[in-house]
């Protein structure tokens, strides 16, 4: 199936459901620690274990974070709402109901504007609500997957972690850009969440989870039946999942078939979706208001304070970058496409000149991201790190080459820039005596190259520069070395 052909004949409608693990210190309804990676079943109490007699008490910070998320997404905050029980049986659920919100979410009816190229799309936000996470099942058997497993093991450390669910309204009219819009939305959402400081939003760690809904319809017809795709664990997967689902649905529809409303699973390896185990009937969760908790009625003054105290959100930052810092429209588009607007802005905020910040993120760092097959924002290096590197280069403490080595070091070790520089001995050799000596050595060792340069082939000096760089373990400033060599060879640079 040809994608362009599909979007010529069909219109997609997409929707996204995102679950965010909040970075609170304690769980949603009890005081157990939320720290990641603990020994199994060591962060559990009567409440999150679902022992008979245990009762929940709501985490105020989680509620505050949810409201802040809603405000950042331009939602209305409920003046009165409740938790509800979502009843179903599953071993990772200690109570066999999840305390969540049903028809009374904390935040409703907002929007998030996302940029794709030079198009801006308004993604409507249906609701933002608060719930608790489940424990973790490990399936033991030949494949480690649930199908064909012999038995399972359950760890409740994660049971009860606060989870915010953000549901978009359906987004029609994106045409061929649907996959990009989906990815841009998740990217933008993730950036907002990171800016708010409510979660570390690491998709690869599961603190940000996405389900994508896709449907197709022929132009002029009603929206088609949608499918839900789960197991979308990275920004690239979001884009690929939408694209592949559009292609799959088009093929079915072209063949005269109908789309079944079902849950599908994204396959990382192949990039397509596979149907999940179909359920006999839609699950009836028998929702009712949680009687062990009392309603929430956020004080409007408190909400207003939270609104005022919101940090500069990415959208506003973009406007400021464009206007105050004089970033050109073309640059905005280029940075947007590379997904680095926030990063550039944050790097500039950390003190770097905007041009340098842009160059690094669009240049070396974008290259590194590509090599690792991740988004630039997923690189384990922060805007603050990058600003520091830029500053060191500006001071002359690092050459560009050394700066790249420093960046590599941060990416590898996660240490901060100065620590990497010290550990690897990255230092511009500014001792001109040593450089002069190294230059003389290089000229002596490469007489034919030296002759060429003397003869007018200035470009050939690069080989000598290389030799000096090698001799100084890359720690010389290449531009300075070139100058010295040319001078010694009696040539104008």
């Amino acid at each position: 199936m040809d994608y362009d052909d599909v979007v010529a004949r069909y219109e997609p409608v997409i929707g996204l459901e995102t679950h965010v693990e909040l970075g609170t210190a304690s769980k949603m309804f009890c005081g157990c620690s939320t720290e990641f990676g603990g020994e199994p079943n060591t962060q559990v109490c009567p409440v999150c274990l679902g022992l008979p007699g245990a009762l929940p008490v709501a985490n105020e910070k989680a509620i505050e974070s949810t409201i802040r998320i809603g405000l950042a997404l331009n939602c209305s905050i409920a003046s009165w709402c409740r938790f509800a029980r979502k009843n179903y049986f599953y071993p990772d659920m200690p109570k066999n109901f999840q305390t969540s919100q049903y028809d009374e979410p904390l935040c409703i009816d907002g929007y998030l504007d996302v940029a794709v190229g030079d198009t801006e799309v308004r993604v409507g936000i249906e609701r933002v609500h608060l719930e608790e996470d489940t424990g973790k099942n490990t399936h033991v058997g030949t494949s480690g997957r649930i199908h064909g497993a012999d038995y399972s093991l359950v760890d409740y450390n994660r049971a009860g972690i606060p989870l915010v669910e953000i549901v978009t309204k359906p987004v029609p009219g994106t045409g061929a850009l649907a996959p990009d819009v989906a990815k841009a939305y998740v990217t933008a959402l993730r950036d907002i969440l990171r800016t708010l400081g409510v979660s570390d939003v690491r998709m690869e760690q599961g603190s940000l989870r996405c389900d994508v809904n896709t449907s197709l319809n022929r132009p002029g017809e009603e929206w088609g039946t949608r499918t839900e795709t789960k197991n979308v664990n990275s920004l690239r997967s979001v884009e690929r999942a939408v694209r592949s689902e559009m292609l799959r649905q088009a093929e079915v529809l072209d063949g005269g078939g109908t789309i079944t409303q079902e849950t599908r699973h994204f396959q990382e390896q192949t990039g397509d979706t596979r149907r999940g185990r179909s359920k006999e009937e839609a699950t009836d969760y028998r929702y009712f208001p949680e009687p062990d908790l009392v309603p929430m009625a956020p004080d409007p003054e408190w909400v207003e304070q939270l609104r005022k105290a919101l940090p500069e959100l990415p959208a506003a930052r973009r406007v400021r970058l464009r206007d105050e810092l004089g970033v050109s429209a073309e640059d905005m588009v280029q940075m947007g496409n590379a997904g680095v607007i926030e990063l550039v802005g944050a790097t500039a905020d950390a003190g770097a000149p905007i041009g340098e910040a842009r160059n690094w993120w669009l240049g070396y760092l974008a290259q590194k991201a590509n090599e690792r097959e991740v988004e630039p924002a997923e690189l384990p290096i922060s805007p603050a790190h990058v600003a520091r590197v830029i500053a060191l280069v500006a001071d002359g403490a690092l050459s560009v080459g050394l700066a790249r080595q420093a960046v590599d070091g941060v990416l590898e070790t996660g240490d901060d820039v100065d620590a990497v520089v010290a550990a690897r001995g990255l230092q511009v050799v500014s001792d001109t005596g040593a450089l002069e000596q190294a230059a003389d050595d290089a000229i002596a060792a490469n007489p034919d190259v030296a002759e060429k340069v003397r003869g007018g082939k200035v470009a050939a000096v690069a080989a000598l520069v290389g030799a000096v760089m090698k001799a100084t373990r890359g720690q010389a400033d290449a531009a300075a070395v070139k100058e010295i060599l040319l001078r010694k060879l009696g040539v104008e640079g």
Binding site: P52, G53, L55, P91, P94, N96, Y287, D292
Partner: protein, 492 residues
Amino acid sequence: MTDLTRMSASEIAALVAGGEVAAVEVAQAHLDRITTIDSQVHAFLHVDTTGALEAAKAVDTARANGTVLGPLAGVPLAMKDVVVTKGLPTTAGSKILEGWHPPYDATITERIKNAGIVMLGKTNMDEFAMGSSTENSAYGPTHNPWDLSRIPGGSSGGSSAAVAAFEAPLSIGTDTGGSIRQPAAVTGIVGHKPTYGGVSRYGLIAFSSSLDQAGPFGRTVLDTALLHEVMGGYDPRDSTSINAPVPPVVAAAREGAAAGSLAGVRVGVVRELSGEGYQPGVLAAYDAAVGTLRELGAEVVEVSCPRFEYALAAYYLIAPSECSSNLARFDAVRYGLRVGDDGANSLEEVMSLTREAGFGPEVKRRIMIGTYALSSGYYEAYYGQAQKVRTLIARDFAAAFERADVLVSPSTPVVAFGIGEVVDPLTMYRNDLCTLPASLAGTPAISVPCGLSEGLPVGLQIMAPALADDRCYRVAAAYEAAAGTLTIPEVS
């Protein structure tokens, strides 16, 4: 020395505090009584001899060291087995929790222990607090000390019988639809259901979350009040706990008894809580009790609460709905019974087999009714509607409380019936007719003995507005002072 087991809690507390008798001696006397009589009564599921004597010893040591003791230090108590007690078996009267030892204490358990009260053991109950006769216990019924062939009421039948059989002067029960008041009435003792939120539910194995309340039993109003003050009060671990001081129930009990008069108190007789389905003997004893209140100077008025008629229907929608969800956690995964794990059965099968084997029929009925009532398409008509009826019942109370300070009714329409006599579920549910309205409204209500019918005790229910538990105790104490406490016959 009078038999320690015949004394009231306040008498025992005074003797212990005054050093006239050791708490260990008190505990031993009651443990001996249990050994003598409980094979016939079967009030207890577990007797904690070691723990009780240790707790009693600690009281004696504290006293010897000059520590000021709490008002009930050294007094023995029986705890309904729906309350979680660390390290002690807690079954909720069910097979599904047979052998389970909770790793934590309920808040009220902690409060009892901290008060130096000596917990003798855990008492029998209808399974998961569902029932009015304690016949739904998976461990066999409890027998009414007044007549061993009869039920002691339920679901707190074990706690009530323990006090009525002089096995303990105090006990704790829970009341969801009447499970403290009705057993108190049919065993001839005092039992109080606090304002909802007045006593912590943390550690109460949940039946119906918006209705459950733990409460005190005693043979006198004062004893009951003393226990109420120890149990009650705000608990940050229970989100539905009221952040306010315990109403002054002990002072009210004392004043009620001392005043000897109810002049200025308006007593509302609830028209709807009478009539068809009420035994004539019960109504006669009740009328006599109202007469006594009148003689004490109360102004007796008739009030009408028309929506009380729907209380049974609303309750038997709300409680099963909530319990169908509360009992979902019993799934053979983390604790309790596991049946059918033969290597071939799936988890779903093991869960279903376990729950089938572990739950009794009443529990299953209520789970299924609750599942039905919450189903999509039925929620609005059933659970949703029942919650609205609840509001209307609360409004009927509010209107009645404008004309009366307390409302009265019989505690239950019939006296203790024979074990095995009532098999039809609906007939059993009707034991709760009088008690359900206050449960649904969350308002406090006490049952105090008001005479006999055919030799069996009848209870007078006194209801008050939310947070006015003290009013219940004041009127009950005044009545008790005037009418005298019942003489409970020896178990034979």
